[in-house]
Subunit: 324 residues, 2 copies
């Protein structure tokens, strides 16, 4: 199957590399809003102008849309779903119903298939929560993120005057994690679940105490957390903080029988590269939209609606033999 | 939906209790090969003779078959799939292709839907292996079981002359688990992955040294493992070893990009009651066979073929809102 990539940042590059790991797939090309001539791809894949994408509708089996959730995907995914089977990683939780409805309308009207909100959270973590809720209806689940780089929080720090560069790590509180794993089902505040570690390069002469205060008091992003701020040099930033690791845990504890038997289920990820791992999930979803479209299952879906076998390159009998 | 239970051992009792946790389900009754009059159920559910099951075909939406994999299920599941949508927990790995084919033929011919090999392994662990293989095609996965009671190994010890009762715990080797979690992708022998802990009540005057030797040298079951044998009293057995806990881990480490980024995925279970947890999975699968049958998806399936949403009681929009 032929795959298009729409948007060429970290995620798009991850998709480009992930396609090489899937022998049934071929990268048709990359669509960018920049001048295509100025974009050099990692694998030498051809680059096209984003606005010409629909001209290639007949040649692409699925388009993986690698834009941001804030302003790109709400426009791009419904627009592209008119011309292609599409996959995106939309992660603005509160706006999922609206995005789902918009993509569903566009895809359904044009007999296309879409999967939105793919990746690891939303994505594999959502699946973990769903399977866990199915099997243990009486229980409570928890999601912890990290240790990993939050790009949104890093960007928020960078917007503070006097900050040259910044990297923010989200870190689960080990004691909270242990209590959940022991099946205590504790009530945990935001502060009790995660801490935030900031590494900041200040501009020369900047007031570091003021920067630290502004970070720690920033509403939504930092005010509800225990925050540590470390000022480092530009060299240290380049040496120690250029990767984008992430990960986390979904844990559910529930009971069966007359409530006397407790069960703890856990799904965890430890990722060297958040964008490359997310890209791997998107690529598997591209396979699924093509297959489901072939079975005339149209409209917008999430991973909840996808038979796991549709995501896999492997044949069904091999799958049963090797993995069941 | 109305559910029947075919077979009333530990697993059947677990299903009986699990149905109460699922508000869209009702227990029609229990089918037993014993004299129905002699069977007292945990919840007061009615009991019927197994051989009369097909008389109730029109009144039962799905039959959950709670027999053993060695001799019961290969007969029962294809036979009952002629009359019902069915679910089983068949776990004889080498015979899955044959069982699948037999159940598929029976179910398909009679426009029924079947899910075989449901539970946690095979079942949720299989799903974990599949999703992990999908997302990280270049990698290696490991399954560890325990700490938990292996009923097959406990039975094997009980067959030794002079043994009155026995319980065998399968225990993962902590160092092996740690190496896998660190992403080392080690080659591990059977002995390096698990140890086996046995608790044995000997008959009066029995030769304990001989019993220990016979356990440790038993081919397939124990010879390839480091085994400890503890002789205990009947009272200790009753006090400390009456529960059936189990669990384990599926771990996959794989790489993306140019192989420079490693990722570790892990799914783990810690279960107070193996049969009750397995039963909870079977009950969710009963929901799925009824729904898939309603969409005219006939024949034999495994969890690989089931859209996760079909297993869930929750509505699709609530699911997206709460779990995505």
């Amino acid at each position: 199957m032929k795959i298009g990539i729409y948007g060429y940042g970290n995620l798009g590059k991850g998709v480009e590399l992930a396609i090489r790991q899937n022998p049934d797939m071929e990268l048709f090309g990359i669509f960018t809003r920049r001048n295509p001539k100025t974009v050099k791809t990692l694998t030498g894949a051809p680059v096209y102008a984003a606005e010409e994408a629909e001209d290639y509708a007949g040649e692409i089996d699925a388009m993986i849309i690698c834009g941001g959730s804030a302003s790109d995907l709400p426009e791009m995914t419904p627009m592209l779903a008119q011309h292609f089977n599409v996959v995106d990683s939309f992660d603005t939780h509160a706006k999922v119903p609206e995005h789902f409805a918009n993509v569903d309308r566009a895809a359904f009207t044009h007999a296309h298939t879409a999967i939105i909100s793919a990746g690891w959270d939303p994505g594999l973590f959502s699946l973990a929560r769903l399977y866990m809720n199915i099997v243990l209806p009486d229980g409570k689940d928890y999601t912890f993120w990290g240790r990993g780089v939050s790009q949104g929080h890093s960007d928020a720090i960078r917007r503070i005057p006097g900050v040259k560069d910044a990297r923010q790590y989200t870190v689960p509180v080990p004691e909270a994690l242990e209590r959940v794993r022991r099946g205590e089902n504790p009530e945990l505040t935001t502060r009790q679940k995660h801490t935030r570690e900031c590494y900041v390069v200040a501009e020369e002469g900047a007031d570091k105490a003021l920067i630290e205060k502004q970070i720690k008091e920033m509403p939504n992003y930092f005010a509800d957390y225990d925050v540590t701020v470390n000022f480092i040099t530009e060299e240290e930033m380049k040496r120690d903080h250029m990767e984008l690791p992430h990960g986390g845990q979904v844990i559910r504890c529930g009971s069966t029988g007359d409530g006397e038997h407790k069960h703890v289920m856990e799904f965890s990820l430890k990722l060297d590269s958040n964008p490359e791992f997310t890209a791997s999930v998107l690529v598997a979803c591209a396979r699924a939209v093509v297959r489901m479209n072939g079975r005339e299952i149209f409209g917008c879906k999430t991973l909840f609606d996808v038979p796991p076998a549709d995501l896999a390159f492997m044949d069904a009998d091999v799958m049963r033999k090797k993995l069941l």
